[in-house]
């Protein structure tokens, strides 16, 4: 039954994909040369006008370019011409670093907030105020104080990943079932052991939901941040290719950004499955 459903869904996905490619191809195909144009004028206008070729690349142009990138993802020909792989590695590296620091801060802090109603009440106004701030709004302040664009980008990732994890950890810890805590109490389990053997496993699914939200936001933000700070990274690459008017590369970047974002999310989803318990 379910394998049948998977098969049918797969076929449908494929058909939709094929239809999309076909529509794209038709919409961008060559319409035939435009006749009787002054050759000087034609030269001025470029291929688009003279051959009737659409300014938008077709699927085969993109596929050819992807193949080119795949053949040589890690070349480095100076600051403005690096392989797609290198650019992605920069972005993923920044996200990982900022995210990792955020995990180290958010989970212990969330634990404290979740365990102590006092801390919860005291810190709540700050969290509520900081949470809705667009992470990019921090950028000028970060650039001014840190004076290093690479570190500033990491800081922005840190600050945007922090809140969902902090809030979810605090919530998960605060809502551990009373009966489980009572079990720990009647067994006279020491606080640290209780934190690791009862509260952490009980709150883990909620914490991981927060971590998944955070990685998603971090990946959204890194592209924008790199457009601002420039230099390296997939965000900078997109912007640079736009300045080069290479729409093919812009489309490829969009695809790759989606792909990497999906992989990051799936990786955490896998971890989440591992810590989820049936109730």
């Amino acid at each position: 039954m379910s394998s049948n459903l998977t098969l049918r869904a797969g076929v449908l996905s494929f058909v939709l994909f094929a239809l999309f490619i076909a529509a794209w191809h038709i919409a961008t195909r060559q319409i035939g040369a435009v006749a009787n144009m002054d050759p000087e004028y034609a030269k001025l206008m470029g291929l688009t006008a003279t051959t009737g070729k659409s300014a938008m690349p077709g699927p085969f142009d993109v596929a050819a370019k992807i193949w080119e990138h795949l053949k040589n993802p890690f070349y480095d020909r100076g600051p403005n011409d690096k392989g797609l792989g290198i650019q992605l590695a920069y972005s993923v590296g920044r996200v990982m670093l900022g995210y990792f620091i955020a995990v180290c801060v958010a989970i212990p802090t969330g634990f404290v907030i979740g365990m102590s109603p006092l801390m919860n009440k005291a810190l709540n106004p700050f969290i509520q105020l900081m949470k809705p701030i667009s992470p990019l709004a921090w950028m000028p302040l970060a650039l001014y104080t840190i004076k290093d664009s690479a570190v500033s980008a990491i800081f922005v990732i840190f600050i945007c990943s922090l809140w969902p994890m902090l809030i979810n950890t605090a919530f998960g810890v605060a809502s551990v079932r009373k009966e489980w805590l009572n079990v720990a109490r009647t067994l006279e389990v020491r606080p640290l052991r209780k934190a690791f053997t009862v509260i952490l496993p009980a709150a883990a699914p909620t914490i991981l939901t927060g971590m998944r939200i955070s990685i998603g936001i971090a990946w959204l933000v890194i592209v924008a941040a790199e457009m601002l700070v420039g230099g390296t990274g997939i965000g900078y690459f997109v912007w640079n290719e736009w300045n080069n008017l290479s729409i093919v590369n812009v489309i490829i970047s969009i695809l790759v950004i989606g792909l990497v974002g999906m992989l990051l999310d799936q990786a955490l989803a896998r971890v989440a499955r591992f810590v989820t318990y049936p109730d």
Partner: protein
């Protein structure tokens, strides 16, 4: 004064009170000035209507809640918090769902004896799992178990720490009659074999008669009281199946049912002159006394 020549008052509840703030201001007194005691190796049950405060009494004995007045004393020491000497079997079994059966029991064992080796912890946990008849299921997670099996794990976990006192909050109420019967047999066997002191909340009169040596009757709240303490007249070697063939069975059963049906409600309004909260009367309903005192219900 009857029966309690050898009273050792191993557990002694001395004038405890519990109050909650009322919604519109003021306080509700769940109970106050509550006194009763239990002896070492004795199995006591408490019966009373829903909401009268039985769980509150048990939580106070467990150390999970503190009384607003009075003290609960165990072995000469006032209870100030939870202790490994008093194991609780929770009504909702309260197993940790991310741990296996063995993991749940081993968690208790390693809490009790932190310096034991992993092998020793495992052996102790396995022995208790076997005792409740769950051998072969030790690697299952609670979600894969039936209600009766979960409750068995709860029992194994409580027994595994070799507590001085076993506290049970309606441990079998969520089970079907057949499973309940088997588990009652097992608990009774284990308690008799090891001389376990136990305190149990129940709604089931037959369960109280079968398991308990002493049955505490609690009147309806708010302001619940211990109306009396019933001394079980049935012989110690009673069996569950032929319980009703015991000569004193109907006298005892009628007495308890009469209490639940009428006296739990009316007791407050017709308190006997000799009644003292500090020394609730001890009653031993037998076939010979029943015609005189409790003939309100005929034997079913």
């Amino acid at each position: 004064m009857p029966q309690y020549m050898n009273e050792d008052r191993f557990i002694s509840i001395e004038g405890i009170a519990r109050r909650y703030p009322k919604a519109g201001g003021g306080e509700t007194t769940i109970f106050d000035d509550l006194w009763f005691s239990m002896n070492r190796g004795e199995f006591s049950a408490i019966i009373g209507h829903s909401g009268c405060g039985k769980t509150t009494v048990l939580n106070i004995l467990a150390g999970l809640e503190l009384p607003d007045e009075g003290v609960a004393v165990v072995d000469g020491r006032a209870i100030e918090g939870p202790s490994l000497d008093r194991a609780v079997i929770f009504q909702s079994h309260a197993l940790l769902p991310w741990r296996t059966v063995l993991g749940n029991v081993a968690f208790a064992v390693s809490s009790r004896w932190p310096d034991w080796s992993a092998d020793k912890v495992r052996d102790q946990a396995m022995a208790c799992i076997e005792k409740v008849g769950l051998k072969g299921s030790e690697l299952k997670k609670p979600a894969e178990l039936s209600g009766g099996m979960k409750q068995r794990v709860g029992i194994a976990r409580a027994l595994s720490i070799e507590p001085k006192i076993l506290l049970m909050d309606e441990p079998f109420s969520a089970l079907d009659a057949l499973t309940r019967g088997t588990l009652q047999d097992e608990v009774r066997r284990i308690c008799l074999e090891t001389g376990q002191t136990a305190f149990m909340i129940t709604h089931d009169v037959d369960e109280a008669i079968y398991l308990a040596d002493k049955i505490v009757l609690m009147t309806n709240g708010p302001g619940a009281m211990v109306a009396e303490i019933v001394d079980n007249p049935l012989p110690r070697n009673r069996g569950r199946i032929d319980l009703h063939k015991q000569p004193d069975y109907y006298a005892l059963r009628n007495h308890l049912i009469d209490f639940l049906v009428t006296r739990s409600r009316s007791f407050k309004d017709e308190i006997p002159e000799t009644y003292s909260k500090r020394h609730p009367p001890i009653v031993r309903p037998t076939a010979s006394t029943s015609s005189a005192t409790d003939s309100t219900l005929s034997a079913a």
